[in-house]
């Protein structure tokens, strides 16, 4: 791959998804675009870059940019955070809810493991503080391929052996003839997936009680963090909680976000000056 090709592809990723790809990670570009190159019969990435330049096609550019994002995820990737959501964040929100209906958004969910882990955990043992709650989980990702996998809820041999105990696997998945494992209909029914770019306004997704955005900011250019955080914060119900991954602090990113006094590691929107607290 020529240096100019790498630069053009890295620019495309930054422009469309905010993702930063360091030159030292040029091998990622190769592996993540391999399927597209095969399908389009490009003999090299130089061909692909040339095609993008000579025949501009926004749909194809979007597809390339989405393919370049990290798909790395696993079941129960951050147990501590999931536990805090189940035992603290959701009960805290339930207290403020009149209807008992709570909505959770897993933003940048890749192939869906995080959303399903939360659904699975919530299904396992009744959390007394969540009695009567009806919890809807929405997962979004920029990659149509990821959303397809997530909606099918079907995972390979290696995926289901990382983060899941054999008991959880046996109780919640069924083995397919292909050798893959599919998560139960019951859990699939509690989670839905939508295509969404976090650089864009998310109002079509509605408002949420808890927004979880893990391992996303660390992939995105720092200059775009505030924009992503604003798009997330805009979808918070009053008093709702925004949570990021380990080592991804939101402190100081937005004027109107402040650490929650009730749930460790979570942020809430500041109530507007002059507004009367309900």
């Amino acid at each position: 791959m020529q240096d100019t090709t790498f630069n053009e592809i890295a620019d495309l990723a930054l422009r469309l998804t905010g993702q930063v790809i360091q030159p030292s990670k040029s091998y990622l570009v190769k592996s993540r675009l391999a399927a597209i190159c095969r399908r389009e019969s490009f003999s090299s990435l130089d061909d692909l870059a040339h095609c993008i330049k000579s025949r501009p096609n926004p749909r194809f550019e979007k597809e390339v940019a989405a393919a370049l994002t990290s798909k790395q995820t696993s079941f129960f990737g951050d147990r501590d955070l999931l536990e805090r959501i189940v035992t603290h964040a959701l009960p805290h929100r339930l207290k403020a809810s009149k209807t008992g209906r709570l909505r959770v958004w897993c933003a940048g969910v890749a192939t869906g493991q995080e959303a399903y882990s939360l659904a699975l955990r919530l299904s396992e043992e009744a959390v007394p503080a969540l009695k009567g709650a009806e919890i809807e989980i929405v997962g979004t990702d920029i990659s149509p391929d990821c959303i397809q996998v997530a909606e099918a809820g079907t995972y390979g041999h290696f995926d289901v052996q990382k983060g899941l105990s054999i008991h959880r696997l046996m109780l919640n998945f069924s083995r397919q003839d292909t050798g893959d494992w599919r998560i139960s209909q019951k859990l699939r029914d509690t989670v839905s997936f939508r295509l969404h770019n976090l650089l864009e306004d998310a109002s079509s997704l509605g408002q949420f009680d808890v927004i979880l955005c893990r391992n996303v900011l660390s992939q995105i250019a720092p200059s775009l963090h505030a924009r992503v955080a604003q798009n997330l914060a805009n979808q918070l119900l009053p008093g709702a909680l925004l949570m990021a991954g380990r080592g991804e602090s939101l402190t100081g990113l937005l004027e109107d976000l402040e650490p929650s006094r009730d749930v460790r590691g979570a942020y809430i929107r500041k109530s507007k000056s002059g507004a009367v607290a309900a």
Binding site: F158, Q161, K162, S165, I166, H167, M170, S174
Partner: protein, 121 residues
């Protein structure tokens, strides 16, 4: 340092598994079938056992049932590691006293994840 007995009739699998498990700060011992594994357990009960299913002389499931009847035989954490990856085999292993189950082929991340699931690391 904890120790782990690796029971598999394939020397290649034993060598690969041994390297992975040593990297998790275990001492490793090896046995080529269930009978040899049982002799080693009688000499010294290991903290963990990585156990293949299909082996000559004594297979994994027969070894596991015999082990659990031994004095202190309930102590070791037993992780099956086998090509048998259908739900029936997995259920039978759990009923017979297995604590975790790895479906081959496996890699270092899977072993680490499974060892973590059962609190070995």
């Amino acid at each position: 340092m904890k120790n782990c007995l690796i029971v598999d009739d394939s020397r290649v699998v034993r060598t690969v598994a041994s390297r992975i498990i040593r990297d998790l700060s275990f001492e490793t011992l090896e046995a080529g079938d269930g009978a040899e594994a049982l002799r080693k357990c009688r000499e010294q009960m290991p903290d963990a056992i990585l156990l293949d299913w299909n082996m000559p002389t004594m297979n994994g499931i027969d070894f596991l049932r015999a082990l659990r009847r031994e004095e202190n035989g309930k102590d070791p954490v037993v992780v099956f590691c086998t090509n048998e990856n259908d739900p029936e085999h997995i259920s039978e292993a759990i009923r017979s006293g297995a604590d975790e189950y790895i479906m081959k082929p496996f890699d270092a991340d899977i072993v680490e994840s499974k060892f973590a699931e059962i609190g070995l690391i």
